[in-house]
Symmetry: C2
Subunit: 636 residues, 2 copies
């Protein structure tokens, strides 16, 4: 029996071990002032001299003795003979104790007249006002920011001792090729250690990436020994799972002590920690999102426990747009797309696996689901940490419904207008429900032709009470996709792949079979269900099946042949008031633009005669927004 | 008459001019992937190939045909002869469409037994699942983050075209010396352009700092012409006020067009914008905090309007600890110290001038008061933008009351324990009021000796209903400070400087004068009031006055001679439950530590026989916390 389970530790327990097992390195690096931004002061920094060193004028004007000005007012102006003209920053000679602004003096030949008395120290920057010689400027442990650099320069500081740490990063895996080499089938670019280096360098760590080590215990052993000697922390990428070629654990055991292997965290479960020559050796899983979790939730906190700057976490509270299921007992980290709908901040979690790096590229946040939580209901208030500037929340459009390649093209164009489209694909009914609960900006739906819209049952059930508008994307055909041009007559001969009950393509298939007097049992694969038309097309493209129902657009995008069977309209449905939203107006202007038409034209399979028109449920024409940010004087 | 007022524009108007008068530079820089972090994609980035390019195993196990597994369950295991052993990431050969985890198979010699059927695509990463060839990875305008780099490497991208901008920065001013040269009296280190370079470089701008230009219109003209030719944006530092040597405006007028000079913003009012050879020339005021405002509120938004990453603004809502007065008609930007008191986030604004760079070094946030606001009451909810990691909120201790150098020493030690002490000095009564409203962690107060505490009127008035604890810092003397050792008998001969009515030192003076049967009118300067004892000592040190009342510690810190007159206890007063706060426990352990005693000993003027003891108002002993983070099993 080939079987190995990891004994999992809890995240808390693992973090406690990680941050208490090792002694912080005692390295200080002296860097020139201008290179100190983002670093942490390793020792207190004191002012070299007082600033200012002598009393200075804080305004342009005249330096005076305040005692000479007593009693001056509008009816009793005082003429001053004893003064000196000063500009801001000039020395106030010791005999003077106040400055009168130039706006408040009247030239009287060789003297000045004033109409208001001056108080002592008025408009005078006292010696040492900003800082006194040898006083603390930065405490030990201060994270140095750009504006700190200005102050430090002012106080005569030209270099700073900052915390230094050396991190060695070892990529392992015979399937790896270096960046710049095109991977062959089954090979991948060695990207996780690049990501680790870039991520940890942000905290000021000096990272050394070692050459790729093949899956050979002796080579891995040698590489670890070198890295441990040269660094304070060693990351070893991949080789930490339970496959036949995962040697990291045994190598760590042979060189030192295994602190843990396996933590109840997702993604990132196979994370491993060893202790070799008293130094931490952290094993990163191979999946990119798992590696990210380990970098962010293990490597960064270890460096933080050593005094380095914490990775900034900017929390925002969102209302969850969809239910979020989590494994009890696992701390889970899930990318979240955060957007504003009206006054509310809405978060849509990303459901895909740890191999999909595009999830974190597209998402603007993530959430941490504690081990004790099984999941959250839709609508729950949830804390999300943003991964980019908070302005991204205002630039995000959340779409929920039925996806089609046309929408991906639209998103591509919208991105270049500064909008982030996040579209999830739970289907028509979920899209309508999401409109009901106001947790999406709009729902892209595959609908019957417009004349039949008022009798479309889901719209009647879930759209009740909503004043909806329908932005037409394209009309398209639903039909049989195949690699070989199969038609209705071939359904009993080919390996079919189906979609779930209740989906439009399943309904169309059932109608077709009934029309041909065929029993579903005659269709090989009728019971093999995948998620939706895109999965059908992918399955056919990949050879899992020979035929299935999908749209002309999807079939075209997957390079499949297509026999049309039925017609549908692909529309973006939204609450009518949402047409006032600036983002939606931009989206509409893109839908109405020639580039979008050209792209759909080129993709093929789309009828664009209604593209960009906006109607209400009863077919009334809605005046289309003319341009982003400007609405026509219509009745919206 | 020497008189010049600027005609001020509103901030909104100025920003509109700034962001619409100029054409964005059309520069693209191609950088190697690992140098792209923090930069903005200048063009869309597409995947070089699909990831994965072929179907891969998503688990360690065996690749199978799902059709072979139908019907397998615990009572009817199925033996599979046709399979291949795969590790995570291995190619799934085209004949197979599912992977069964190694944990779910039973070795049966040359075959495997399974007890559960496999669905198509189970544990298979389909070709193109992460991304498909030529699909959009980053839209134009995407701010590139460390984890994006991992994805880009995976997708075969080795370099990226990012937005580039060249910024020329010209320091002007005859009083400037370069960093590394000790400024003479009236000179300052040329630090604002260093700060500008470091700040703008964070957005990826290429900054060129030019040599210091003296206050000479011809030299300034030449420098601007060179900088305009070589850059897309020119910053000219200082010379923008209305002093006799502020030539920037006239030089800009002679070379091009003055767009505005003077904006209703504080600090930063003299900001100036010119247009020379179609390029923006932005004049920074000389005061550091004014220069910061112009960098953050003008230069950064200009770059943002050109597509560069916005400076991240992380807002937090605070309750204002003190009233905040603002000039109507001016947009004001004020450093704020943000800390958590119990469940509430409290913000204390910084009151000092634009010359005090230490304000932004110490503060962890700032607030923007719109022009239409005259001020906020204490207790108002206010939006603050954090300037460092949000964790700083948990590390900040807010102290309000009466300051003494002993507290500064304490703060220095606390800083090195990772605590930021923010202490404001509005006096005893304000400190007690702040305890009442729970807007400070603790109030440092100058109090009568402990035996007289229960009859101290402010404590009776404002401490009512509060269960207070008193942490003793030091006992000290109040007395007459002077440069020449003046005593009570000299009060009628010297130039005296007083503190405001109601302050402890004023009361002591009045008692002394009454005791000596002296009329205040006999004391020259009795009516000259400054803010408190530190200001008294500074005034004497700076020669504005000859004598005044302050504490022995302050006199010692200012190097003055001192004749004691009365006794006082310097104590940190706080709500008793605050002793449970981890930060306060750390603070107490520092007060009780030998290094703090040694520092006060060295400073002189302090009696430390009670230092570190904690009592209640009625003299009851409070068990002192033994160590940070751990409380004795006492009755706190």
């Amino acid at each position: 029996m080939v079987k190995r389970y990891l004994v999992l530790r809890s995240l808390d327990e693992a973090l406690a071990l990680l941050t208490t097992t090792f002694t912080p390195p005692d390295r200080i690096e002296r860097v020139p002032l201008m290179q100190a931004v983002g670093r942490v002061a390793a020792e207190p920094v004191y002012a070299k001299y007082s600033v200012p060193e002598v009393n200075l004028a804080a305004m342009d004007g005249i330096a005076v003795r305040s005692r000479d000005t007593i009693g001056a007012n509008n009816t009793n102006p005082v003429t001053l003979d004893h003064f000196t003209r000063v500009n801001t920053g000039n020395i106030v000679p010791p005999e003077f104790d106040a400055v009168i602004m130039i706006e408040d003096v009247w030239d009287a030949g060789s003297s000045f007249q004033i109409r208001k008395s001056a108080t002592p120290r008025q408009h005078v920057r006292l010696a040492g006002e900003d800082i006194r010689e040898n006083r603390l400027v930065l405490p030990k442990g201060h994270l140095i920011r750009p504006f700190d650099i200005g102050a430090l320069a002012t106080y005569g500081i030209t270099s700073i001792g900052v915390l230094e740490v050396r991190v060695g990063i070892i990529p392992t895996g015979s399937e790896l090729v270096p960046l710049g080499v095109r991977p062959g089938p089954g090979q991948v670019v060695e990207s996780n250690t690049i990501m680790a280096q870039v991520y940890l360098s942000q905290t000021g760590a000096h990272c050394t990436r070692y050459p790729i080590v093949h899956d050979d215990p002796d080579l891995i052993r040698k590489a670890i020994l070198v890295a441990v000697k040269e660094n304070d922390l060693v990351l070893i990428s991949a080789g930490s799972s339970a496959g036949t070629r995962d040697f990291t654990e045994s190598v760590i055991r042979s060189l030192g002590e295994l602190v843990f292997h396996g933590v109840a965290v997702k993604p990132g479960k196979p994370v491993m920690l060893g202790r070799i020559e008293k130094k931490p050796v952290l094993g990163l899983p191979g999946y990119p999102l798992a590696a990210q979790t380990v970098l962010r939730e293990f490597a960064a906190p270890l460096l933080e426990s050593w005094g380095f700057a914490p990775a900034p976490r900017y929390p925002i509270t969102v209302r969850l747009a969809q239910p979020l299921v989590s494994d009890l007992g696992f701390d889970e980290f899930i990318p979240v797309f955060v957007g504003r709908i009206g006054p509310e901040i809405i978060g849509t979690p990303h459901g895909k696996g740890a191999a999909v790096q595009m999830a974190t590229v597209k998402a603007n946040g993530y959430t941490h689901i504690p081990a004790s939580v099984e999941g959250y209901e839709s609508g729950t208030s949830l804390e999300v940490f943003l991964t980019t500037d908070p302005g991204s929340v205002e630039r995000t459009i959340l779409l929920t419904g039925t996806l089609d390649p046309a929408l991906e093209e639209l998103a591509g164009l919208a991105h270049n207008e500064g909008l982030y489209i996040h579209a999830t694909n739970p289907g028509n009914i979920s899209g309508l429900r999401s409109l009901q609960t106001n947790t999406c900006h709009a729902a892209p739906l595959s609908l019957p032709a417009r004349s039949l819209l008022t009798s479309y049952q889901p719209l009647i059930t879930y759209g009740e009470g909503l004043d909806l508008a329908f932005i037409h994307i394209a009309a398209m055909e639903l039909g049989i996709a195949s690699r070989d041009g199969l038609g209705i007559g071939d359904l009993t001969k080919a390996r079919f792949i189906n979609t779930r009950k209740g989906t439009p393509s399943r309904s169309v298939l059932d109608t077709v079979l009934a029309g041909e007097c065929l029993d579903p049992a005659q269709v090989d694969g009728y019971l093999l269900e995948v998620h939706g038309p895109p999965a059908v097309a992918a399955a056919i493209r990949n050879g899992f099946a020979d035929a299935g129902m999908c749209t002309s657009g999807i079939a075209s995008a997957e390079g499949l042949r297509f026999i049309p069977v039925a017609h549908e309209d692909y529309e973006i449905v939204l609450r009518r008031e949402m047409l006032d939203d600036k983002r939606i107006r931009t989206l509409v202007s893109i839908i109405q633009s020639p580039p979008f038409h050209a792209i759909l034209e080129k993709a093929g399979g789309y009828d664009m005669s209604l593209t960009g028109t906006i109607r209400g449920l009863n077919g009334d024409n809605v005046l289309a927004p003319l341009s982003p940010g400007r609405l026509p004087a219509g009745d919206l």
